[in-house]
Symmetry: C2
């Protein structure tokens, strides 16, 4: 039998979180953290609602997953996030020593790759998973804001 | 009369916070955020106690100051922190558009300057304020951990 727990499977859950952000008028970015095929954190961007620039989906997911695990290192965990992490979130991922980061759409302007933020050497990065869906959601969000 | 509200004045308050971290067995980094010569946030590193890599002094200070202000941008604010911010904290400071960052000791390995993390173009940076005091505290901390 085929393994149902693909990167696409979990990225769909992150996209569901991004939709929740969208509905709240937040820039629609969602994230989940998974260990042993189990979702242990699901979060979405809340920077507007909380008036807090640190409330990116990834930051909340890291805190939430660490709380679940009862330790600050996320070894064995995978983060799925709909948009490429920024410098802040990549910096947090560095400290967490997370095993794998999977992101959807690239952020050419503020993504960590272009800005050269260092991840932990043990962290594997996969990009472009359901990128079109994540990107469409962003485009739809900013179009709705311009109205 | 001389202005009593110098960078050293507020950095001493950040050092007091770092001492509190020290007493809890946390890497001793402290921070305060100031607006119009008034301290609106005082925090210290709590990564061990909270099992959370995002609980750096600066991150908590940003959240706390934004909460005080009731908005996510820290324009007109100054962060005083005893150690050079890391990538994560510098990335958060970028989003906050904070007006000024003053730090004590440099962090040659994990500080944002060497790693090239981008701050907001409007953010002024001053370094080396009471650097020796901050550095001495770190040395004392790691010496006590080796015993």
């Amino acid at each position: 039998m085929e393994n149902p727990f693909t990167d696409e499977y979990f990225m769909k859950k992150a996209l569901q979180e991004a939709e929740l952000a969208f509905d709240k008028g937040e820039i629609p970015v969602g994230a989940v953290i998974v260990i042993d095929n189990k979702v242990i954190a699901r979060t979405h961007n809340l920077t507007e609602m909380l008036h807090d620039v640190t409330a990116h989906a990834e930051m909340q997911a890291i805190t939430s997953a660490a709380n679940f695990i009862g330790g600050k290192y996320l070894k064995g965990c995978t983060l799925y996030v709909t948009l490429e992490p920024c410098q802040m979130c990549a910096g947090a991922l560095y400290w967490s020593q997370i095993s794998k980061v999977v992101f959807g759409a690239s952020d050419e302007q503020r993504g960590f790759e272009k800005l050269g933020t260092q991840l932990h050497p043990k962290t594997q990065v996969i990009k472009g998973v359901l990128a079109q869906e994540a990107s469409d959601l962003m485009v739809r969000f900013f179009a709705s804001k311009r109205k």
